[in-house]
Symmetry: C2
Subunit: 236 residues, 2 copies
């Protein structure tokens, strides 16, 4: 039975981390909300499920519904060889994913520092201040950390964990994609100090299934509604 | 061998979610940074470990180092009977924990909406705006969600998952503690609409080990350096 992915149909957002894992795994899945009536189905499930997710994305596998991006990847990683089988390696992969999620949340807040309920235009002054800190301190801090753990991987710096691809590698690819779209100048500077991160991003981009996916209409282009938005004034 | 917990020694912060699980489990642990030279040891580990956490808290169990609060609880929950043994129940518990973590991050950002590198006093105007949204929309949204999943638990509304205590129950207790400290008015209003959450909080507070811990000097009082801070002007 095909997985059912539920996420907003017009943005990459957090759902993209799940889409990339499903695509790399060659898994059979339906991106439900992109079909007609899909959003209505998604909203009904959030209202009525025994285990209702607070927010999309969530994944349905038979009777099991899983919310929270990192939890979905924990589930998929174990099923599709996208995480080490040993518990310590699996937990380390998950820890990296949660750290990626932290920076994703901060990237969102650069354009919504006051609240999700308001437009960007109504919090632009705050966004400028927050983005200063984000570009100057947070992007370099996180990308340097990823570079460090790549350098310390005893199996080599081609992957974050062990000698094989994990969902954390895919997510780091997507993080770099998003940051490079939203903050090209700041991210470019930070990547020069994190060459292993840049190399991993490029290697993931060349993987046949990821390359085919990114060239397909299934890959929604970045836009001004997602988590990663290009407001040039915020890219310091 | 005792667990070693590494976290800032003067605040509850994210470390408190781990402390509560260790206390309820009756686990032998050392709160390393509260001992002399402890902070220096913590900083050295973050610099030099093969799996360096980006930030505290982290837990050392023999040779294993685990960062990210939710990952630590995933690890401890399985070892100390604080999570269901079945994979679906374990994942649901983790999903709830990640949702708690989301609100904890938002609570932090009420007093630091612009950036962690600046003082509250330098971002007070932004903090007032962000707290409006937090008090009016976010606290009610999350507490209502917890109330809903308690109501839908087929095993009854005494616990978030199944019929036994999990680390998610302990974390929800701590979330309510923190919100009630920082935003007594807004949280009081929201808890009236989430009576199951209030009841679970009170039941956890009465558990012998939690009660003893909270009365002990090991429980650091809330203060103006932690995640949950009481700035009365932010409590709308």
């Amino acid at each position: 039975m095909a997985y059912e992915l539920y996420y907003w149909p017009t943005i990459q957002g957090r759902g993209e981390f799940v889409r990339l894992a499903l695509e790399e795994a060659g898994a059979d899945y339906i991106d439900v909300a992109r079909e007609s009536e899909g959003i209505a189905v998604m909203m009904r499930m959030m209202d009525h499920a025994e285990h209702p997710p607070l927010a999309p994305p969530f994944l349905k596998d038979g009777d099991t519904i899983i919310g929270q991006t990192a939890a979905i990847l924990l589930y998929l990683g174990a099923r599709h060889g996208l995480a080490p089988k040993d518990p310590a390696g699996g937990l380390w992969t998950h820890q990296i994913q949660l750290t990626i999620a932290d920076l994703v949340a901060e990237a969102h807040d650069t354009h919504h520092p006051v609240g999700v309920g308001l437009y960007y235009e109504d919090q632009k002054a705050e966004a400028l201040r927050r983005s200063d800190e984000f570009c100057e301190n947070r992007i370099p801090k996180f990308l340097t950390w990823f570079d460090t753990i790549l350098a310390r991987n005893p199996a080599g710096d081609a992957h974050l964990v062990g000698r094989s691809l994990t969902y954390a590698d895919l997510s780091l690819f997507q993080l770099v994609e998003g940051l490079s779209y939203a903050f090209p100048k700041a991210t470019g500077r930070a990547l020069k100090q994190a060459p292993r991160v840049a190399a991993l991003h490029d290697a993931v981009a060349r993987r046949p299934r990821i390359k085919a996916y990114c060239a397909s209409p299934r890959r929604i282009p970045f836009n001004q509604e997602g988590i990663f938005r290009r407001y040039p004034e915020l890219d310091r």
